[in-house]
Symmetry: C2
Subunit: 214 residues, 2 copies
């Protein structure tokens, strides 16, 4: 089975953003060496990454900005917005709702998800809306997921509830979990879990600074 | 110059969290193959990553949980908390303040930064506190950084202001920027910039789900 490396996939949205910015500046063509300077990534890595997307550039001529931008949007399938649910409307859940809804309203920030509902158990939260997204009781989770054929979930519950909820998500047909819960989830290989942990990122960042990385 | 790969550094906080959890469960020893199953990372990658930290395990015997945990805390220098400023107290800035202050209050979540002050320009925000952190006017930025010898900044301003602020941060002696501003910063190689962009992460995540990665 053909697989583009995970590290490459993680760089593609960053390239896309960069090409969007070049496009807005009216720049039509760019060399991988110029891109390398801009993005602080080795030009050989950039050329290898782009080779997975298709025949995007020619040696000495560089990349046509508009062509690459369209190819990246297409490759990342950004014109298809996925319906999504969010579970856990605590501090982090609310912050994510606010951020995500804001991004949906901005131009050029192709937000790949649309949050249909949020879920929680706390009486004082259920029934309210945050950033325009209604909070339902967690009892309705399976019903809503099945009715709307939702495949994507954002999990921002406390660690102690995370695995119980993850199991219910898998049981109702969820295929991908964007996991803010700071623990490794025990789901089957049918569910792709993407761990997001700002504290981990801060720890790596500090290491790079203290050890003078460039 | 000796350099541990960036990809390894990015995995170390994740390993650390995992070993903390093993330690709490009273597990004293673990094989790299068991770790690989738990973390869904190739055991060979885990062994190579750990080889950068020191002589942590023996073939067939595995890793002593407590020894690895202490080595990781030490290697990541997590007992030294760095003073930090945050610039831009919009939605994302407030969400980060709330999240970060919350993490500082939790056990075992070794937060490597302490936010001294936040900065903004908006009249209705300056003078207020969010999550216990006071917001000062951006005019005071250089003075506060120099007085407190701050080396680390979290940048959560809109894209259009990001480079102007980044230049001021570099000019006042900042060495690392945790960049939420969604654009590439034009700073010199003396400043380490760590880009954090949840929308990029969502785009990569959706690609993995749609293309059935494991």
């Amino acid at each position: 089975m053909y697989k583009i490396p995970k590290a490459t996939v993680k760089r593609l949205p960053f390239y896309r953003r960069c090409f969007e910015s070049l496009h807005e500046q009216g720049i039509q063509r760019i060399l991988s060496s110029q891109l390398g300077d801009m993005l602080k990534i080795d030009p050989a890595t950039i050329r290898r990454d782009f080779s997975y997307i298709g025949e995007l550039g020619r040696q000495g001529f560089g990349y046509e900005v508009n062509k690459v931008l369209l190819a990246l949007n297409d490759f990342l399938d950004l014109n298809n917005v996925e319906q999504c649910v969010l579970i856990g409307v605590g501090n982090l859940g609310r912050a994510f709702l606010q951020y995500n809804v804001m991004k949906s309203q901005q131009q050029h920030n192709l937000n790949p998800i649309k949050i249909l509902y949020a879920f929680d158990v706390a009486e004082e939260i259920v029934g309210k809306s945050y950033s325009g997204i209604q909070v339902l009781h967690i009892d309705k989770l399976e019903e809503i997921i099945r009715e709307n054929k939702v495949k994507i979930a954002v999990l921002s519950v406390p660690p102690k509830s995370a695995n119980e909820i993850a199991e219910r998500l898998e049981g109702s047909g969820i295929k991908g979990i964007f996991n803010f819960s700071s623990i490794s989830l025990n789901v089957s290989r049918n569910v792709y879990v993407y761990d997001v942990d700002l504290l981990n990122e801060l720890q790596s960042f500090l290491f790079f600074v203290k050890n003078k990385y460039e």
